[in-house]
Amino acid sequence: MATLPAFLLRWMEATRPEADAEPAETRAQRDPYKLRALPQDDLFFFCKKIDNSRLVREADPRAKSACWSAIGMASLVVAILAGVLVPGAASTNSGYRLESLRAEERRLTDESRALDLQEAELLSPARLDQLAHNQNLVTPKPGQVFHLEGDRPGAAVAMVKKR
């Protein structure tokens, strides 16, 4: 892991006036066969193990108590704030939902009315009559319908005589 001093040193070197004054030597002049360095190529990362097992924290009941008190107070404050703010927030949220639902209701009501109108137009007697004529469905004239007595009592068959 690169350390902060390493970065600082690099930055200081880069911003040094002398360095800017020196004539720049190109990479080809330095070593024509050397590839360009990758970013942070010159940094090396290592792990340093630190053993803190010998350090033992001194017991401090007062500090512990104060800490717990602070936590309790903070929790109380959070609970109070939540109790005060949450209903308002929920109310606002519900308001959004309610207005959204009302808008939806109005839209659906309008849509329903439009569909009712469309249905009424489609079921217009004039249109149905035209469709029936197209399908050769016409009301039989009185003389075209007659009833035949069936074999069983009460049985009857209605027929239409073609004219």
Binding site: A120, E121, S124, P125, A126, D129, P142
Partner: protein, 666 residues
Amino acid sequence: MVERRLIVLVVALAVWSAAIVRKLVWLQLTQHQEYARKARQRQEIPRVLPAPRGNIYDRNGEPLAMSLPTQSVTVNPLKLPDLGVAADLLEQVLHMQGSGLYDKLKQACDKGRGYQVVKRQITPEEAENVRALPVDWIEIESASQRHYPKGTLAAHVLGGVDHAEKGNAGIEDALEKTLHGEPGQELLLTDVQRRGIASRQAIEPKPGTPIALTIDERLQFVAERQLAAAVADKGATSGSVVVMNPSNGDILALASYPAYDPNEPPETAEDPRRENHAAGVPFEPGSVFKVITVSAALETTGLRPETPIDCGRGSITLFGRTIHEAEAHGGYGVMPMAQVLIHSSNVGAIRVGMRVGQQNMYEYMRRFGFGQLTGIPLPGESRGKVRKVPQWTATSLASVSMGQEVSVTTVQIAQAVSVIANGGMLVKPRLVLKRGTETVPQEPAVRAIKPETAFTMRQIMEGVVEPGGTGFPEARLAGYSAAGKTGTALIFDFKTKRYTHNYNGSFAGMAPLTNPAIVVVVTLNGTHGDLGYGGRAAAPVFNAVASEALRLTDVPRDLPEDFSKTLAAAKAEPASDLAIAGLGAGPNILQDGDDLEKPEEHAIAVAIPGPTVPNFQGMTMRDVLTAAASRGLTILPDGSGIARVQYPPPGAAARQGERIRVRFAR
């Protein structure tokens, strides 16, 4: 030193805090109202709560008129930065290229008008496009638009509305207060993105009350179709049909021709298509009015249906005025009063009318509802014209007796015929069945004539649709008994002050006879020639409309279906109420069925002649059943008492399995 600095700091903080507190107090206490109002103004937007105009339904709940929300685009021409740019922009967004919008805006601007409707009834897509425009001089207004989904159906009943959805004709106009809705308003609290958070109702919307008419759209359609066909076929100029329930006065159909589409109404109020010929255009009824004459005679004189009336061989001279029968066929001699009505004898009606007298005639015209508004809620309803007795001339009684010098509407005739159909009660026609969920109460009926008079008139009028009658065979219904009266009145030309050769052909009838469920009145105006008589022109419409009405109202048949065809064979030539001489009294099917000896040739191939049908007339039910059983016949009895009518007629050969219908009456 440190303390001094601390004190300065504290003082500075205190001053700073005091300044803040002061400002807060000023803002939140002193200026609270003002800033709260400004906040509301910015955060709350008013929104119109629609209150649609009440729908109009027929008696079965089928919608005849509906309102749908719509939007219109308006601008303030005085605030437009550039008229040309604005016109181009709006024409492109609203798809109205070439509409001359620039000229309209320029004209409005020149006249100093701050309001101009750019387009009404825009589509949702167009509304979205307009809202997306980053300009503040365009407004989208919400409105409501009236639709008539059935087109021309019942146009004269429904009427129409103007641009502001205010009724301007028909029921829409008459019931404007009921149908009109009052839109409300709510204030919507919005966030910075104009999303609604909460709303409160500022003005409560009051939707219009829906109404249900007594009209049956199926029957209305049939009436209009048949009327239009008859007008075209007979060369008439206009016509009307009224179908009415005589018991409660419900108008089941009210058709007028020519018609129009209320969705695209005629531009001028004087357009002839707007005229409601059924209720708003009175005419001389002609022979239909003889029903009133005979009814009055039955009530006020000793005349009975069988009383002989001298018809003067075709003419009568009164105070120097000679009145003829409609057409010279030698005229009628002496005939029973019933036959005067059946044959529609003018001279006979005049003789009867003279027995009734002026005062009684006037009294009975009023009793039958003539010369008065029927009360149906249609603007422009005519009360017709019935002159008071002091205004009558010497020959007025004669004229009125045969339906002249009096003008009536088709609705009034339907009301009058209903009196005879329902047993003598004058029932006011009803056009509105329900307002909201409440049924419109029926006005109490008033007795106009005695029940026995009504029954007698029904029997006489039945003769009109039977052989020899002026309405036969066109008005004879298949499967139902019927009664009626034809009418053919010459149309008076007000320019030449003379009667023309064009007619008002009409037919007023009822069915079934025993307990009439419907009354149908048909009038065709401007017919001519032999086929323009009421019996030829209007009776077929009565037949078609009445048959459909009886089927739709589930009225059980009281005669065989092919009854009329059998009777039609007995008809040698068409009779009319103008040319009826020479035709003798035809056989009354209720009294004499002997003329119908030959049963109709039936289409059933397996029809095998059975036993001869005996004459049951005058026999009791027990005797009829016994006689039928002895011949192996099956009887379908109807009613009680003495056998009056039978079918097949006596002497006919019953087909195998055929049942003999016998109607009994006391």
